[in-house]
């Protein structure tokens, strides 16, 4: 997929941190994505997901209301083709395994550099 492919995929950002949401929106990969929404907790995310039908989701894990792993499971149940990148500070293996098992496609550990974010998104999109 070339870099010039414009906004062919819809992106939803799930993170309770505004800063992280904005950082993701600043990523170089965003040229290929159209941000259709941002949610700050799991419940909001599921609701928004139903309405906007995004193809790609970045997902925080530690959030109020509904945590990220549960949210991943719900989103995959709605659309099994969705690509989910977990962006979390939870660095233990069991959490990562859980998230991947529930259907996440990538894992980016906080904190991250712009480059790491870019690479993680690029790798995720390469599966699209």
């Amino acid at each position: 997929m070339g870099a010039d492919v414009k906004a062919s995929l819809k992106l939803m950002i799930v993170d309770d941190s505004n800063i992280i949401r904005r950082r993701i929106e600043r990523s170089q990969q965003i040229a290929r994505l159209e941000v259709v929404g941002a949610a700050s907790n799991g419940r909001e995310a599921v609701e928004l997901f139903r309405r906007t039908r995004p193809d790609v989701v970045t997902m925080d894990l530690t959030m109020p209301e509904m945590d990220g792993v549960e949210c991943v499971q719900k989103l995959v149940a709605i659309n099994s083709n969705v690509l989910i990148l977990v962006v979390s500070a939870l660095a233990d293996k069991a959490t990562a395994v859980d998230a991947i098992e529930k259907g996440a496609n990538g894992f980016l550990c906080k904190p991250f550099t712009d480059r790491q974010l870019n690479d993680a998104l690029a790798e995720l999109l390469s599966e699209a």
């Binding site: 959030m63 500070a89 069991a94 959490t95 991250f112």
Partner: protein, 148 residues
């Protein structure tokens, strides 16, 4: 009592945050103890509650100036009060989240609580806390670890 390796985990989490997010490393001042249950705070504090095998809190507290510069180093132009609160919570969350690498899943961390401007509200649940000064550029912040 906390073990050295455990506190080191938190310190690494904090310095790593600066190293990675701001691409500029932070140094650690000499750690010390606070025995009166009042480790003190700067203007912005992100508190993470810890439950599971360890109980207590970990908080990261920093002055506005430091957080503003950190935001700018992260290419964030919006340095409003809200974003600074967001950042201090995110730092605390990241430090405790990263600690799970060593402590495992039984180390349960809460969503960050941010206390801004009202430093008196920042208190430790136990009398004794470890305080680790984090120096970055010309600024100083504190990482406070207060666990059973």
């Amino acid at each position: 009592m906390l073990k050295e390796a455990e506190i080191r985990t938190f310190i690494e989490g904090a310095t790593n945050y600066f190293e990675v997010s701001a691409q500029q490393s932070a140094t650690v001042g000499s750690p010390y103890l606070v025995t009166d249950g009042n480790p003190g705070a700067y203007e912005y504090t992100g508190v993470i509650g810890i439950s599971g095998t360890r109980k207590g809190i970990v908080y990261f507290t920093a002055p506005r100036g430091m957080l503003t510069v950190l935001l700018m180093r992260m290419q964030e132009t919006d340095t409003s009060d809200d974003n600074i609160k967001d950042l201090v919570g995110e730092v605390a969350n990241t430090i405790s989240g990263n600690a799970r690498r060593d402590f495992g899943k039984s180390f349960v961390i809460s969503v960050p609580v941010v206390i801004a401007h009202d430093t008196d509200k920042v208190t430790a649940p136990h009398r004794r806390s470890y305080v680790i000064p984090i120096n970055w550029r010309t600024h100083s912040a504190k990482l406070v670890v207060c666990l059973e």
